[in-house]
């Protein structure tokens, strides 16, 4: 098939400036291009030509940054180019304009965030989008469920295609390729004999790293030789320190253990920090689609402590490759789960190994590629309704303001809700907990098998 993949207006492909969607797209391109003629339409970048063909993939780049401007470029391109299938990333609002100029193409959507909420798209346009697309892939069940909660009619069209990771690049610290790097990073930062807890992600309050920092004092009382590494690009920025970064810095300064903050790490080098670490923690408080760092941590053989938010728990088997924190607002829950890991080092190592196995078996790019190929095949087989709808009115009426309930995502907690002293009983509870986790794991295992059969 002649296939057009339309990326978002923000970052260019290949992912020279990072970006989860851009990484996903590039990761599976090598598999997709073997079966189809692929054109990738994305945003212009000063360091990339506006048109090129690399490794049999055509790249076309139009101006973007602002959605409306990008949409114009996309439409203009489609007016003189035809495709059998158009695969749109994360921008449901492109679907109807694209349909207007490509009446005979199959359209598929790849969803990476909550983009169907009333704040993002009117229900009228959303309904039309669901009708016009052949299939919708989502990066997690969570994202699929969110779409179906608003548009139940989407049920038959939604498929989860989990993202992937390069398991030859993200490797455990003891791997021959990584051993030296691990040692040198640890030596360079004076962390040779430390157990390194790693956080990697944006330093913003919804990502919650402050809760991890607040969990450390209690944890450090029970476990010796801990160190914390925070990989977050905006840490050192002199000129634009956000209030949140300042807050996190202020907390870090007072911690009883070494805290290493890396500042910006180039996407090509990030695997080195995973190899240097011993535990990975994701602290997200928001309903996150499913953070890529989970795949990277698993590939690097790190046990994970993550949060029961959005799609994050979907790649976890509690007690197998790590633990899930139920209420990430409460720092003592991080203390508890980390303590559980640290109390049994053999078990902790095993969990990292299980993570690596998961990454190798389920989260490599060839699997993502194969899933997308099957997904496109499915889309190709769907019938396009012969009824052509003129959406001109809908597009003209769509205003930029769509929000209906401005308060819906704003849970306010009562003051002083967090009881800092909760952690005391962790060790006593440990055995009981383990038993419970084991039972839970078994049910989750069967669930996981189910979802894999899907």
């Amino acid at each position: 098939m002649r296939i057009l993949m339309i990326c978002t207006e923000k970052l260019p492909v290949p992912p020279i400036r990072g970006g989860a969607i851009q990484t996903y797209l590039s990761g599976c391109l090598p598999y997709l291009k073997q079966e189809h003629e692929i054109t990738v339409l994305g945003v212009t970048d000063p360091s990339l030509p506006n048109k090129e063909t690399v490794d049999d993939v055509n790249y076309v780049r139009v101006d973007g940054k602002i959605f409306e401007l990008y949409m114009e470029g996309v439409i203009e391109f489609l007016q003189s180019n035809e495709f059998d299938l158009i695969h749109i990333f994360n921008r449901p609002r492109l679907v109807i304009p694209v349909r207007q100029v490509a009446p005979n193409s199959k359209i598929t959507l790849s969803m990476h965030n909550d983009m169907f909420t009333p704040a993002k798209i009117s229900s009228e346009e959303g309904t039309a989008v669901i009708k016009e697309v052949a299939l919708i892939s989502t990066v997690s069940d969570y994202i699929g469920e969110q779409i179906q909660a608003l548009y139940p009619q989407a049920k038959s069209k939604v498929r989860t295609i989990y993202s992937g990771v390069d398991c030859d690049r993200f490797l455990p610290g003891e791997h021959p390729k990584m051993e030296k790097i691990r040692q040198s990073i640890r030596r360079k930062h004076g962390l040779e004999n430390k157990t390194i807890i790693l956080f990697a992600g944006r330093l913003s309050s919804n990502k919650g790293v402050d809760r991890l920092l607040r969990a450390i004092p209690e944890l450090a009382k029970k476990h010796k030789d801990l160190a914390l590494v925070i990989v977050g690009s905006n840490w050192f920025s002199q000129n634009n320190v956000t209030d949140y970064v300042a807050y996190v810095r202020a907390l870090a300064k007072k911690l009883p253990i070494p805290v290493v903050t890396t500042g910006f790490v180039a996407p090509q080098e990030i695997q080195n920090w995973f190899a240097a670490a011993d535990i990975f923690v994701c602290t997200s408080i928001w309903q996150e689609p499913l953070a890529r760092v989970h795949y990277e941590a698993m590939a690097a053989g790190l046990p994970i402590v993550t949060t029961a938010r959005g799609g994050n728990p979907e790649v976890m088997i509690q007690g197998e490759n790590g633990y899930i924190v139920q209420h990430p607002e409460d720092p003592s829950q991080f203390t508890e789960k980390l303590s559980l890991l640290l109390s049994d080092r053999t078990e902790m190592k095993k969990m990292g190994e299980r993570g690596r196995e998961f990454a190798l078996s389920f989260y490599q790019w060839d699997r993502v590629g194969a899933d997308i190929l099957a997904f496109w095949k499915g889309a190709q087989e769907t019938l396009i309704s012969s009824e052509k709808i003129d959406y001109t009115d809908l597009l003209n009426n769509s205003s930029t303001e769509r929000v209906t309930n401005y308060f819906q995502h704003m849970p306010i907690e009562a003051p002083s809700m967090i009881n800092q002293e909760k952690v005391e009983t962790v060790t006593v509870k440990k055995k009981k907990e383990k038993k419970k986790e084991k039972e839970k794991t078994e049910t989750e295992n069967t669930e996981k098998e189910k979802s894999e059969k899907k």
Binding site: D210, A250, L251, E401, Y406, F407, M410, P415, S416
Partner: protein
């Protein structure tokens, strides 16, 4: 020709007050070439080194003008420039008219930022720092808000809007109260920490209560009118950006304008003025609101929002939020005293708000 991107710059002991890096000065010269003006003199009058912005006063064959390097994203600056043009040309508001480049555009892009020239309004004089002055400021603000209604930005501009963000900013304030508490706890040996920890609960409770009131208010219905119905909030309005000219009050420095229920400007002016007085004076507040109301009538629903916005612990928040930056310096004796003053002033706020509420109901 220079071609590096304009970025914030460092200032230190060796740099003078209005230091601007050489490459930016070269850009300024390049920019001036695009204007049909002969420039007799040029001097820096304001810099924003931490953001990467600057203002020059230029004397030209066509009279004095200001040359501005806008530090914001170009697409964001386009929104503000469009607003300034709409206000001065379409609405004939007293805001400095934009002087266009030879090819007719409002601005020129250089170093990845937008530059523009506006008329230098003179003479301009600050109003007196008394109730009369405050009333003049409020009336002028009302006028500005009224005239800003109906603004539609150019297509390439991003939509700068605070209209839908009230719940989020209230939420943020509640969240940060906990940050203050955590920092006070982590730095408990600093002089101001006990004072901070003693009052943070009280102000957090106030912020939560304001949030609940906002939720119960007509806010969600009001915003449905949409951005251009409500017009623009200035966001940096006060004694220096509202000044008296020959023919009336002028409003300057429009770079931060955004769509909003613009009463927020009035709220800031009131709470800031009361903080300066160190107590809440019912006469001042009433007359300030009245002056504004004469220029831009306040509906009962918007009045309710004003009351709710005044009920936030605005001054505590504004003064303490710096604590996250350098707690080891910030939490000193001086801040302990400051907290005491804020708490004392806050006590006088509530009877005033109560009266304002009752009297408006009786209208």
């Amino acid at each position: 020709m220079v071609n590096s991107m304009i970025v914030p710059w460092e200032i230190n002991k060796s740099t003078h007050e209005f230091f601007v890096p050489e490459y930016i000065l070269s850009y300024a010269q390049e920019v001036l070439k695009h204007y049909d003006l002969s420039v007799k003199s040029i001097e820096v009058v304001t810099t924003k080194p931490d953001k990467g912005g600057a203002i020059w006063k230029i004397d030209t064959n066509n009279g004095p003008k200001s040359l501005k390097l806008l530090h914001r994203r170009p697409t964001r600056s386009l929104f503000s420039l469009g607003a300034q043009e709409y206000l001065s040309l379409v609405q004939e508001a007293r805001v400095p008219p934009i002087y266009k480049i030879k090819s007719g555009e409002n601005y020129i892009e250089a170093g990845g930022k937008l530059w523009f020239i506006a008329e230098w309004i003179e003479p301009l004089q600050p109003v007196t720092k008394d109730l009369e002055g405050a009333k003049q400021l409020c009336y002028a603000l009302g006028e500005f808000h009224r005239l800003s209604k109906g603004y539609i930005p150019p297509a390439q501009a991003e939509i700068a809007s605070r209209l839908y963000k009230w719940p989020k900013s209230y939420q943020k304030m509640v969240e940060k109260m906990d940050w203050f508490r955590q920092i006070g706890t982590a730095y408990k040996d600093m002089p101001a920490s006990p004072a901070l920890l003693a009052v943070v609960d009280q102000f957090e409770t106030q912020a939560i209560e304001s949030y609940r009131r906002l939720e119960a208010s007509q806010y969600s219905n009001l915003v449905k009118h949409g951005n251009d119905y409500w017009g623009l909030v200035h966001q940096d309005y006060g004694w220096s950006n509202g000044q008296m000219g020959k023919d009336g009050m002028w409003i300057i420095d429009l770079d931060g304008v955004a769509y909003d229920i613009p009463i927020r400007d009035l709220r800031k002016l009131i709470s800031g003025t009361m903080a300066d007085l160190k107590y809440w004076d019912i006469t001042w507040v009433k007359e300030m609101i009245q002056s504004y109301h004469e220029a831009n009538p306040i509906s009962p629903e918007v009045y309710e929002l004003l009351m709710i916005d005044l009920s936030l612990p605005n001054e505590f928040y504004k003064n303490i939020k710096e604590v996250v930056f350098e707690p080891e310096n910030f939490l000193d004796e001086q801040t302990a005293t400051l907290i005491q003053t804020i708490v004392e002033t806050d006590k006088t706020k509530w009877p005033v708000l109560q009266k304002l509420q009752d009297e408006w109901k009786g209208r």
